[in-house]
């Protein structure tokens, strides 16, 4: 038996870009459902498919307080970002026990293919905007701490190693 689908850093899958999704099939929808389950089990506000070892450009985000509002995305892309920024303490189940304050655009416009296979667009701010940017980073083989300076990044990784 194998347990826990979360891929742990430094797995090479977390450093690799994921493949675009060609069509939204039942298989893709099943992966989304699994991703929502894993996100809720963490619990977290978003998940990228590469975090469970599926190398497809799939992400789910649910930053709602009441839950059950997950937006399922294929091929998400940031098409617009605000100049003003927001600082948020980010973490990942792929590197347990550490977190870092990351500065990102406060608002983003995201284009993606939705559950029905149609091109969709959402404008997000707040935690939704933070999470979707964090997930799209994953799909490009980037972790949130890749947005830190080298000194801070190394410090964070040392701390994570010490914990492990």
């Amino acid at each position: 038996m194998t347990a826990r689908p979360i891929v742990l850093w430094p797995d090479r899958r977390l450093r690799s870009a994921a493949e675009p999704v060609r069509a939204v099939t039942d298989e893709i929808r099943a992966i989304w459902e699994q991703m929502v389950e894993v996100m809720e089990a963490m619990p977290g506000v978003g998940l990228a498919a590469s975090q469970i070892g599926v190398m497809l450009r799939l992400a789910v985000v649910d930053a709602s307080a009441e839950r059950g509002q997950a937006v399922r995305m294929a091929n998400p892309e940031i098409i617009d970002a605000s100049a003003d920024t927001k600082r948020h303490d980010e973490a990942s189940p792929c590197l347990p026990g550490v977190s870092a304050v990351i500065t990102r655009p406060r608002k983003v416009a995201v284009r993606f293919v939705n559950q029905a296979g149609q091109v969709d667009r959402r404008d997000w701010e707040g935690l939704w905007a933070v999470s979707v940017q964090h997930q799209i980073d994953h799909l490009n083989g980037l972790m949130y701490f890749d947005n830190l300076s080298k000194v801070k990044r190394d410090m964070l990784l040392r701390k994570a190693r010490k914990r492990a």
Partner: protein
């Protein structure tokens, strides 16, 4: 000790009933060591002998997941469930013979299991949590049952098709 190849579903050997072990001899102990090494290498938390192509009633497991905790390898010959709790629990399961697929399976939350250990001595223990899920999952293997057999036919066929494709790709590579 060596790492053995793990059979990938669909494989007829994963659907067969495994034969009981008559006595724990040197060869079987070596097999158990290989299975533990194979399981840790994968990595997984449990492995049944049919998964390495040996149709004998032998499973190994170690459900300690924390990286800093001491490993707790277990070897069980002829394991048998002697009691199940009425209460059930649902756990997301995966299988080394069905890589990268996970699904929720509902099973008895706690089980009592009887087995013979590496020294040939009878043992009995009650398992809960992840250990309970794992021991039931592994004993299923000895009876030719996979966790996907608890899923709906649609989901099972989808996974089986993907596995068949994966095996074809592997054979070609």
């Amino acid at each position: 000790m060596s790492i053995r190849d793990i059979l990938i579903h669909p494989d007829p050997r994963l659907k067969k009933l495994a034969a009981p072990v008559a006595s724990v001899d040197r060869d079987l102990r070596a097999l158990a060591d290989d299975m533990l090494a194979t399981m840790y290498d994968a990595p997984g938390i449990g492995l049944a002998a049919p998964q390495v192509g040996v149709l004998r009633r032998l499973i190994v497991m170690d459900c300690v997941k924390e990286d800093d905790a001491a490993p707790q390898p277990m070897v069980l010959f002829n394991p048998e469930v002697t009691w199940i709790s009425e209460e059930t629990s649902t756990h997301e399961e995966g299988c080394l013979s069905i890589p990268e697929h996970f699904a929720e399976v509902t099973r008895p939350a706690e089980v009592r299991v009887q087995w013979v250990d590496m020294d040939g001595k009878p043992k009995e223990e009650q398992f809960d949590g992840l250990w309970s899920t794992c021991v039931q999952h592994e004993i299923d293997h000895l009876n030719g049952i996979l966790f996907i057999d608890y899923l709906g036919p649609m989901k099972r066929q989808m996974i089986t098709r993907k596995m068949a494709k994966l095996k074809r790709e592997k054979a070609r590579a």
